[in-house]
Amino acid sequence: MAKLLKNRELLLVGAILVLVALIAWRFPPFVAPANLARVYNDTSILIILALGQMAVILTRCIDLSMAANLALSGMVAAMLNAAFPGLPIPVIIISAMALGAILGMINGALVWKLDIPPIVVTLGTLTIYRGLIFLLTNGKWINAHQMSDAFKSFPRADLAGIPVLSWLSVVMVAAMFLVMSRTPLGRAFFAVGGNPHAAVYTGIDVGRTRFFAYCLSGTLAGLSGYLWVSRYAVAYVDIAAGFELDIIAACVIGGISIAGGIGSVPGAVLGALFLGVIKNALPVINISPFAQMAISGMVIITAVAVNARAERRKGRVILKKAEAV
C-alpha cells in the first residue's frame, strides 16, 4: 500500500518533469532557477488551499466554499487595512485567518450538527459568503492606493533570496505534513474517510473530525485571502471566482481520492504544482491563456481515471460494493 502511494507521487513527479522538459524544449529560459522559483511563488496560494481541501476531502467531504471564503477574508483584511493603515500586518493576518476559521466552522457545524450533505452546505455558503462581500462593500473595489505599503509588500519581502509568500507555503506544507502524520487529528482524518463506522468503534467522533477539517480549510482559506489580496493589490467581489475548482483539481491530480481516506500532503503539493506549471507555461509557449481551462479539465479527467485504476488494484476489499452503499 505504502509502495503504491509512493509510486503515484513518483508518477506525478515524473509527469511534472516531462512537462517542464517539454516546455524547456520550446522555451529554454523557463527552466532558469529564478523562473522556476517564480513559478513556485505563483503557485504558493494554490498549494496552501489544496492542503486545506485535502483534509476535507480525506474525511469524505468537500469544501466548495474555499474560494468564496478567501475572497471574503481577503476583502475584510483589505478593509481593515484601508480603515486603520497603522494596524500591524500580523494582526491583519491573524484576523483574516480567524474570519476564515469562523466561516469554515459554519460549514463544519452544519455538516456535523445538522447532518446536511457537505456538497449542499458548501454550495450554499459559497453563494452566501460571496454575497456578503457585496453587502459589505456595495460592490466597490479596494484598490492599491487604499492599501498601506507594508500590507502590499509583506508577501513580496525577500528572505534569503525567496519571497515570504513562498516561505509561508513551505512552512504550511511542513506543518501539514506533521499534522497529518504525527498527530491524532491527522490520523483521524484518514480514519474517518477510510471507514467511518470503524472510526466510530475506535473512539473517533466522525462529525467532530469533519468539523475540524472544515476549520482547517477555512483557516487556510483566510490566510490565502490576505495573501491573494496583498499580492494582487486589489480586492473586489469576484476575486478568485471559480478558483474552488482549481483547488479540487489540484487535489484530484495529486491522487487524493474523492471517496475519502486516500491522499497525502506531497500529493496535494505536486497536484498544485502541476497546475501551476501549466498555467505559467502557456503564455511563454504561445498557447492562448484561454486554453488553460480546457487543459485543466482534461487533466482532471485523466488524473481521476488514472487514480481510479490505481485504486482498483488495491486488492482484497471484501464487500466493497455493500460498504459503498
Binding site: 450533505p117 449542499v120 450554499g124 453587502l135 483539481a249 488553460q292 480546457a294 479539465g297 481521476v304 452503499v325
Partner: protein, 334 residues
C-alpha cells in the same frame, strides 16, 4: 448516533390515509410557500399581477427548470451532473459558429441539441464506462466544455443570429404563453410521467436507493445512468437554444454558475442529494418559487448578488429545517 437510548416506539395501528400523507408532504409545504410568495409579491408591487408581467417572470426560471427536470432524475439515481452550465456554453458557441458558416435556424437547433447530446455522451461514457465518480468527472468536463468555448471565442462574442431563431427565446405560442413556458409545462408532464409512471422511473429510484440491489434485481444500472446523462446533456442543449435565442449573442461566460442554481432548484424541490427520493411536482414548485422570488426581488430593485445570498440561505434552510423540526418533535415526545 447521539441518541443511543431506546425509546418505546409508537406503532400506528393503521397507515395514514392518502389525504393526510399528501397534506404532510414536502410538496404541499412548497405549495404554501409558493402561494405566500405570490401573495407577498402582489402586495409589494402593484405591477406584479399583470398577465404580461407574470409571463415575463417565467423567463427567469424556465431554462434552468428544463435542466432541473433531467437533473432531478440524475440526483435521484445517486449521481450529479455539474457540467450542465458548461454544456450550455459549448452548445451556444457551436450554434454561433454555425451561424458564421451560414446555417439557418433549423440547422442551428440541430447543432444545439446534438452538441448537448454529445457532451452527455462524454459524461455518460466516463461515468458508466470507466466507473468514475460523477462529481469529479463533471467537475472536469465542466472545465473542459467551457474551456473549449473559451478557446473558440476568447474574449469575442458571436452575434448575428437569424431573426427566425429569436422565436425560441422571445416568441409566444399563444397569448402570454411563451415558447419557453410551454416547453417547461410539456417537459414537466413528460418527466413526471417518465419518473412516476414508467419502469424506467422505478429503475431510477431503485438505483438511487440501493445500486447493488438494483443490479441484482435485473436493472441495467449502467444503461439507465448513461441515459440519464444523455438526458441532462440534451436538456442543456435545449436550454442553450432558448437562452442563446433570448440573449441573441454568445459569450464563453454564458450561463456561468447555473449548475449551482439548477442543483439548488432540484434540492429545494425535495429531491434528496443522497439519491433515492424526490418528485417532479416538487421540482416544478421549486422552479416557480425561485423564479418568483428572483423576479419579485427584481421588481423591488434588489441586486442580483443579494438574491443569490437568499438562494443560498434557502438551500441550506430547506434542508436544515426539516431536520431541526424532526429533532424538536422527538424532544417534545420524550
Amino acid at each position: 448516533m447521539a441518541e443511543t437510548h431506546l425509546s418505546p416506539r409508537n406503532i400506528p395501528d393503521r397507515l395514514e390515509g392518502r389525504g393526510a400523507r399528501l397534506l404532510k408532504s414536502w410538496e404541499s409545504l412548497l405549495l404554501v410557500v409558493a402561494c405566500l410568495i405570490f401573495l407577498g409579491n402582489s402586495l409589494a408591487s402593484p405591477y406584479f399581477l399583470d398577465p404580461w408581467n407574470l409571463s415575463d417572470a417565467t423567463f427567469n426560471f424556465t431554462e434552468k427548470a428544463m435542466i432541473a427536470f433531467a437533473m432531478a432524475l440524475v440526483i435521484i439515481s445517486g449521481e450529479i451532473d455539474l457540467s450542465v452550465a458548461s454544456i450550455i456554453a459549448l452548445a451556444s458557441t457551436a450554434m454561433g459558429y454555425a451561424v458564421q458558416l451560414g446555417f439557418d435556424t433549423p440547422a442551428l437547433v440541430v447543432v444545439g441539441l446534438s452538441v448537448g447530446l454529445a457532451c452527455g455522451v462524454v459524461n455518460g461514457l466516463l461515468i458508466t464506462g470507466l466507473g468514475l465518480p460523477s462529481i469529479v468527472v463533471t467537475i472536469g468536463t465542466m472545465s473542459l466544455f467551457r474551456g473549449l468555448s473559451f478557446i473558440i471565442l476568447g474574449d469575442q462574442a458571436f452575434t448575428g443570429y437569424p431573426d427566425s431563431f429569436a422565436w425560441f427565446g422571445q416568441g409566444y405560442v399563444w397569448w402570454v404563453f411563451s415558447f419557453e413556458f410551454t416547453m417547461f409545462v410539456v417537459l414537466a408532464v413528460v418527466y413526471g410521467v417518465v419518473l412516476h409512471k414508467t419502469n424506467f422511473g422505478r429503475a431510477v429510484y431503485a438505483i438511487g436507493n440501493n445500486q447493488t440491489a438494483a443490479l441484482f434485481s435485473g436493472i441495467r444500472v449502467n444503461r439507465v445512468k448513461f441515459t440519464l446523462f444523455l438526458l441532462t446533456g440534451l436538456m442543456a442543449g435545449l436550454a442553450s437554444i432558448c437562452l442563446t435565442s433570448r440573449l441573441g449573442s454568445t459569450r464563453p461566460s454564458i450561463a456561468l454558475g447555473w449548475e449551482l442554481e439548477v442543483v439548488t432548484m432540484v434540492v429545494l424541490g425535495g429531491v434528496s442529494i443522497l439519491g433515492g427520493s424526490g418528485t417532479i411536482p416538487g421540482v416544478v414548485l421549486a422552479a416557480l418559487i425561485m423564479g418568483m422570488v428572483t423576479f419579485g426581488f427584481g421588481l423591488l430593485n434588489v441586486p442580483g448578488i443579494v438574491m443569490s445570498i437568499f438562494i443560498g440561505l434557502l438551500l441550506i434552510s430547506v434542508i436544515a429545517l426539516p431536520i431541526l423540526w424532526r429533532r424538536a418533535r422527538r424532544r417534545l415526545a420524550h
